[in-house]
């Protein structure tokens, strides 16, 4: 039988550690993905995940279920990420590797992709990560919550504590800046930039 988050929270509040551990198992990956994308460092993202669940566990008696458990977790994680960014504002968000190892790349995706495709995808992922790291924190967080966690504008507004229109503005500005950054890094082709089909060379009759 699969318990809902609410059931597991209720059991956890009654002192059942296993139920809380099930909640951890259910939510640690999304929280890790969120933390990694916001702060850009694997080890620190793991620390944020650990601290998020520890804080949630300690604050569980005060959680009355006004919001969804996941929203509550996201809020804790985002606050921790914000603290982390404040502490380490000087350090770069993304560390770019010097070279691309095709064998290592092949291990990360299915065998249907060619080595060239794999390398290209890896480069694109790094380019996106770098372009995202250049965005202001609010815009970056809004894009991450929308694109990778499928939240609605209203949910993002609640998490960020701002009006819904601000969320839309942040998304638009973030996407626009991101596009410019990607163009600058050469990751967007002319066709992708203009949204129209690229002109083709044809033979004259």
């Amino acid at each position: 039988m699969t318990w809902t988050d609410e059931d597991l929270v209720a059991r956890s509040r009654g002192g059942d550690l296993d139920s809380f551990n099930q909640l951890i198992l259910r939510w640690e990956r999304p929280i890790y993905a969120l933390a990694y994308r916001v702060i850009g460092r694997e080890e620190d993202a793991r620390d944020v995940v650990q601290e998020t669940f520890l804080r949630a566990f300690r604050a569980l008696p005060g959680f009355k279920g006004q919001a969804k458990f996941s929203s509550w977790l996201y809020r804790i994680a985002l606050n921790l990420c914000r603290d982390w960014i404040r502490r380490r504002r000087r350090s770069p968000l993304v560390e770019l590797p010097e070279g691309v190892d095709p064998v290592e790349l092949a291990a990360e995706t299915g065998p249907v992709e060619s080595i060239e495709d794999l390398a290209s995808r890896k480069e694109l992922s790094e380019a996106v990560a770098e372009a995202m790291s250049l965005l202001p924190e609010e815009q970056r967080t809004a894009i991450i919550l929308k694109e990778y966690h499928g939240m609605t504008f209203q949910e993002i507004a609640d998490l960020q504590g701002c009006p819904l229109s601000t969320v839309k503005t942040r998304l638009y500005q973030g996407l626009a800046v991101l596009r410019r950054n990607l163009e600058r890094s050469g990751r967007l082709t002319p066709r992708e930039q203009s949204g129209r089909p690229a002109p083709q060379m044809v033979k004259r009759a």
Binding site: L17, D18, F20, N21, Q22, I24, L25, E28, R29, Y32, Y36, R37, E42, A45, R46, V49, Q50, F53, L54, F57, R58, P102, V103, L105, A106, A107, E108, T109, G110, P111, S114, I115, R121, L124, S125, A127, V128, A129, M132, I143, K146, E147, F153, S165, K168, T169, L171, Y172, L175, A176, L178, R179, L182, R187, L188, E192, Q193, S194, G195, R196
Partner: protein
């Protein structure tokens, strides 16, 4: 109600992009972008940026956090993996079977002591028996039917007292029976606690096993994919070499002609 879209209203465009707008707004924007090249281009650029975003994935990380709590009221701690117990053997909790065995031994010793006290006449005055020898009972000269009956009655009384004491967990009249009852209650509580702990441990171990299995499966899949990638790379390189060789041969034969 009809709604017109203001050209350049980018927040409305974002609502349309993520399909989070009213139906009439969607209709108005859809109609507008068919005639406005600038807005159509903007929308297409936003969409292509979203496509690029899909390529960004976080690296695989070994998480598997668990919250554990120590027996004593100490601060909570996290653990990534179950650690081997470093406490000494006498400090570890006994397994359930050992606790049951200990309880049985204690109970049996208690019973024997009670019986011995009854037969030896040591203890309370009501345990004193007088063995009267009946004429004609040659097989058991020291034991009479009356003394056996008295002994049986006394044992039944004591056992009933123990049962009542265990059931109601109240202090019995006799100090020795009270100690036994308390001991039994404590042993039973320990056994129950141990069983609960073991069930909890079992559940956690099962969860960890499932997770380990899953991570091992991922590692195996990654290994297989790596092998496939290598094979693909090698095959591609060989095909390229053969093609180059073929082209070279064709060019050489054409030159010779």
């Amino acid at each position: 109600m009809t709604e017109t879209f203001q050209c350049g209203d980018n927040t409305a465009l974002v609502g349309y992009l993520y399909d989070e707008c009213e139906a009439h707004a969607r209709t108005a924007i859809a109609a507008h972008v068919t005639v406005c090249a600038a807005c159509a281009a903007e929308l297409a650029a936003l969409r292509s940026t979203r496509v690029q975003l899909a390529a960004w994935s976080p690296p695989e990380a070994e998480l598997g956090f668990l919250i554990t709590q120590r027996q004593a009221p100490q601060p909570l701690k996290f653990k990534r993996e179950p650690k081997t117990q470093s406490t000494r053997w006498f400090a570890r909790p006994l397994p359930a079977w050992a606790q049951v065995a200990a309880a049985t031994i204690v109970f049996a010793v208690g019973m024997l002591l009670g019986i011995a006290q009854g037969t030896n006449g040591v203890g309370s005055p009501r345990n004193v028996t007088t063995a009267s020898v009946q004429p004609g009972s040659g097989s058991a000269p020291n034991v009479s039917e009356a003394s056996l009956a008295a002994l049986e009655r006394r044992l039944r009384d004591e056992m009933a007292t123990i049962r009542v004491a265990n059931r109601e967990t109240v202090a019995p009249s006799s100090p020795s029976l009270g100690n036994e009852a308390q001991l039994m209650t404590r042993v039973r509580a320990l056994i129950e606690e141990s069983e609960q702990r073991q069930q909890r441990e079992l559940a956690l171990r099962t969860a960890e096993l499932v997770r380990d299995f899953d991570s091992q499966r991922r590692v195996d899949l990654a290994q297989i994919q790596r092998n496939f990638g290598q094979i693909e790379g090698l095959t591609g390189a060989e095909v390229r070499e053969q093609r180059e060789m073929l082209n070279y041969l064709i060019r050489a034969s054409q030159q010779q002609r």
